[in-house]
Symmetry: C2
Subunit: 334 residues, 2 copies
């Protein structure tokens, strides 16, 4: 019934068009389920959840559920919940980082204060699990609970490596795996679990999501040095301002023949003294020594692993759709 050629032409816009009804239902659920006895919590949570974002996570839930044969409506609630879980971590991270901007708009902690932003994150986490408990299979809830634990763990690991230029690529990838890849993998796995999908499918989609999520974060971290600040919606070098050393910089710090520059940068990082001039200097070195390119090459390796995870599905609409979603993630503008 389905051939590779039928689905080979799928691109992200077409994907979003095909699943527009499901995406709109998720969007409506996201808004409706924020209702609380407390209008302040509602307003704050809504500020974060509705402030844009690509809705990549709900889309992956929808594709994984619908294209593995799920015919119910539980994927709408699930798509809603993964966005709440994601937003809850953003709220707490912004409090922890004292971030001023989120997606180009004032961050919730700046609008409502750190106090309420911590509670707003708690509200989103707990509402997410309350919704899951109302309808989702227990195994699905367990997977997402583990994803939440991973995200917390990844955030702590990241903080332990703040201002430490000696962080290895391996440690960096361990952070990424927990902070970002785990939930994206969880979206794909739980989507497939809804259809009672066979374990090998769930496993394949989980690996697809994990590798795609890693590629996604590596690209994000690279854009943080190389993007147009206006399009990024925040200042460049935001990670390093917080003392977080990501892949392009890890590559720069391991390039040969740059001992003097590297010593200077290491000292800045260790002392937590990276200012605008430092960022400009480091971004220029990253550009000159093509460390954005080498980081992107690493991202592409993960993207390739994501593709190979779903290779057994080749020829199916699920394969074509996930490929289109992955292409979109990988080919964002540098």
């Amino acid at each position: 019934m389905t051939s590779e050629n039928n689905f080979g032409a799928l691109n992200y816009q077409e994907l979003v068009r095909r699943y527009a009804a499901d995406l709109a239902a998720v969007e409506a659920a996201i808004a409706d389920n924020l209702a609380s006895s407390n209008e302040l919590l509602e307003a704050m949570a809504a500020h974060v959840v509705k402030s844009g974002g690509k809705r990549l996570r709900p889309l992956l839930v929808i594709l994984s559920a619908r294209l593995s044969g799920y015919t119910g409506s539980g994927h709408i609630l699930l798509g809603n919940v993964v966005e709440y879980l994601h937003a809850a971590t953003l709220l707490h991270d912004d409090v922890l980082d004292d971030a001023a901007l989120r997606r180009g708009a004032p961050s919730a902690n700046r609008v409502w204060g750190n106090h309420l932003a911590v509670l707003g994150g708690d509200f989103l986490y707990t509402t997410a699990f309350d919704l899951l408990l109302s309808a989702a299979p227990r195994e699905v809830i367990r997977v997402l609970c583990r994803c939440s634990l991973d995200m917390i763990d990844g955030e702590v690991l990241q903080r332990r490596w703040r201002n430490r230029p000696e962080i290895s690529e391996e440690t960096y990838l361990a952070v990424v795996s927990r902070k970002t890849a785990s939930l994206i993998s969880g979206c794909c796995r739980t989507g497939a679990m809804l259809s009672g999908g066979d374990p090998s499918l769930v496993e394949a989609l989980g690996r697809f999501g994990s590798s795609l999520g890693t590629a996604f974060q590596v690209i994000d971290d690279t854009l943080d040095y190389l993007a147009d600040p206006a399009r990024l919606g925040k200042a460049l070098g935001g990670d390093l301002r917080q003392g977080t050393v990501t892949l392009p910089l890890i590559h720069l710090l391991s390039r040969e023949g740059l001992a003097a520059e590297q010593s200077r940068i290491r000292l800045l990082i260790e002392r937590g003294e990276v200012d605008d001039a430092g960022i400009a200097d480091i971004a220029a070195l990253i550009r000159d020594h093509r460390c954005g390119e080498s980081a992107m090459a690493r991202a592409r390796e993960f993207a390739a692993d994501a593709q190979s995870a779903i290779e057994p599905l080749r020829g199916s609409e699920l394969h074509a759709a996930l490929t289109a979603a992955a292409d979109f993630v990988i080919n964002r503008d540098l």
Copy 2:
């Protein structure tokens, strides 16, 4: 088999002795289940969870489960989980309040910083639900999820009424009902639910817990003005230092014939200018005008309602045990 006289003599120490094995099992679970891939999270969570506390919540779970006929071991996990949920709110509250002391020891935010304390709270919340998902009936998990939502909601409500001396007794009790009574009620309800307890028993224990929890918090708030600071483990007037107006002060602010004092106090509160001298002044007025006594009288009314909720159980060991637990809560030293 059981008569009122058999159990009439039960006191708290006897209760703790009878259920020593279960309480020890809860204590062991509390320690064991903190294991994380992240030793920093473990250490922080352990600091909070193990820093003492009366373990009232686990005890209520144990009594409600065992004495309503439950013969399994799920009450141990449940007793562990309610203490994690309680500790998670303490961690986040301390971050929000920038508290220096908790139960006489340095608070986690002072030892590890606000950043890690927020994540430590997230870790405890999420670990609690992960444990519940491993074994507890879904309805039990749902009740505790709702308790968590109540606690968040109560904290926000309390913050909205900060530095506002016009807060009514009714609003104060709405805060207490969500912040404290909800989880204590949840302990009693979920304990009884484990035994597949009939709905009227679950309902009765829920009302018992709710009223007892309210009495407990009103007494706590009264001790905050009248206790011996050394025994309290923190400075007196801590609530008011944060701008939180509790029942003894609400009573003081509504006493007749104190217009001048009340204006002065209202201004201090509105301006957030309550210092040590202000606390001493207000505590003296609360003592002189017997507002501690009137607040305690209100607590005793809630305690009486707790008793009347379990009146249908009179003659049972469950009735005697809950009565002993309630007596202990109510008769703490003033």
